[in-house]
Amino acid sequence: MADRILGGIALAITLAYAFFAFMVIRAPFQYDPLGPETWPQILAVVAGLCSLYIVIRPDRRGFHLSHGTLGRVAVVVVLLVLYAFLYEPLGFILATALFCGVLARMLGASAIRAAVFGICFGAVGYLLCVKLLALNLPDGVFSKIL
């Protein structure tokens, strides 16, 4: 069943892709006989055939996922989005400390350990990457001090 749904999603995406490939993409003038639209058209046809095959003859294995696990995955994704959202405004150190602390706590570390891990990782990671490897990371709220 899960395979059917997935095949259906793939088919829907392919149809949207095919719509653009066949109807929208046009070059005002082109030098080669294929132009920008032929290649996406070929891909759309192959992808469509594959997705159809999966819908018609799906594998038997299901999508084994308990509600608890699904919830955990969802929470992690939300945390990641929050981390991305706060990355620039708060800066690497603070955002990382918060993210690591909260995630480690959620995955079963004790509150104190999670906090220490988050703060150490944020600070050490920043020093290592910015000072030693000269990578570019956001300073955020600490931009005055650093």
């Binding site: 080669d32 920008p36 290649w39 995955v73 690497f92 480690a104 990782f121």
Partner: protein, 512 residues
Amino acid sequence: MNEVFAGLYQGFGVALEPMNLLYVLIGCFTGTLMGALPGIGPINGVAILLPIAFGAGLPPESALILLAGIYYGAEYGGRVSSIMLNVPGDAGAIFTTLDGNPMAKKGEAGRALSLSGVCSFIGGTFAIVLLSLFGPMLAGIAVTFSPSDYVALMVFAFTCLAAMVGRNPVKTLLGAVLGLMIASVGIDANTGVARFTFGVPDLLSGIDFLVVVIGLFGMGEMISLVEQMSSGKMNVLKSDKTFVSMKDMLAVKWTVLRCSIIGFIVGVLPGTGASVASAVSYGTEKRLAGESGKESFGKGDIRGLAAPESANNAAAGGAMVPMLTLGIPGSGTTAILLGALLLFNVTPGPLMFKQHPDIAWGLIASMYIGNVALLIINLPLVGLFVRLLTIPLKYMAPLIAVLSFIGVYSIVSNPFDLYMIIGFGVLGWALRKMGFSLASVILGVVLGNIFEDNLRRALSISAGDWSILLQSGTSILLYILAVLILVLPPLFGYLAKRRAAAEAELAASAID
């Protein structure tokens, strides 16, 4: 032959520069470490560390030496978590668990680790010797390839991929096409027409290869780790003082040689890497061992440990061959290395040995050094890596996420990319859960533009006549090979089944 020695001489000149030597050692060490961590394989290690190496501003040959070191280092390191934890780092290490873990349970952990270390070394070095011998030769042939030959080569590569990687060929193919579709986003270089950008300015230059790689293999892996996390603690077996003996090595010498050859050949085939190599070699050895093998394989037979370990390291070297000489990666991980080369404006392919001999030969020479270094790192220091296995997942998962964020942000500093990698992470996790091979997706992403460019160039030459694709001998040969690869394995499987059925019938009638 002279060309090979001259190239190696130049290559060792590059690889023995103090900084590059340092990068080989760092790469091998980090790679072993990454490989040894449960759940992280070579492809994840290279994916997570690639942008950091890129962002740190290393020169191309040094960056590639470092990344390649991480790659084959991780192939070595993967055996540690397989043997001690029974948790393979990636698909290539699954077969190492079958006999490695039982050995460790019998109290021969030290013997298993050292034996597999030596086998990895032999397999890896064997592959590099063949790479340095055949690489330039293959590149010499590939220089004459026309665009239509390249199209045939791509078709061959994707057929190999579909036929040999993953359980369901249709899913593997769909994964590859998905990769090709991802690569088609952005402004078309030939006409300047924007494709699939929906007016989002961040998409005009296309979806960055690094974003896809880090999303699928960094974030996706992290989400998988969180998903698989069970409340129970993982049980690390104790390392002990047992060690591989000369007698052990003599007992497996033919196994190691056979599996190195198998591994190398499978590695060279475009699209198929270490996971297929170790599966094929383990199966072959088990069959060759006959009746005695049926009993002992899977219960701690040293042949069953030596086979996949020598094969997957030979495959890692073999996969470099098509990447360096044809510009077509032999595995998912080399696809990432190929993308890394493109980031440095080095176009891998037949001309690389001519245009960038310092990079091509420097990389090959560094692999000789790296394998020796890995043997040294892995025999006495293996205890250290075993201790690392005890890093709990609750700290590993945030670590991977933060490294992925650093990697993506440090290159373009575009927060939009951070959301993109999360999206690709969810996609990668879901696809893997559904039995897709992510390696095929990344191969599609890397090869997308090359595939399209060559097709369009070929048809420009013929002014739109599709029959040009079938006009050269090389391309016809490649299409025939592609068909054979698709048809032969099921045919053999069918014949074997029929023979088994016939024998069973014979046996039944004999009893009557």
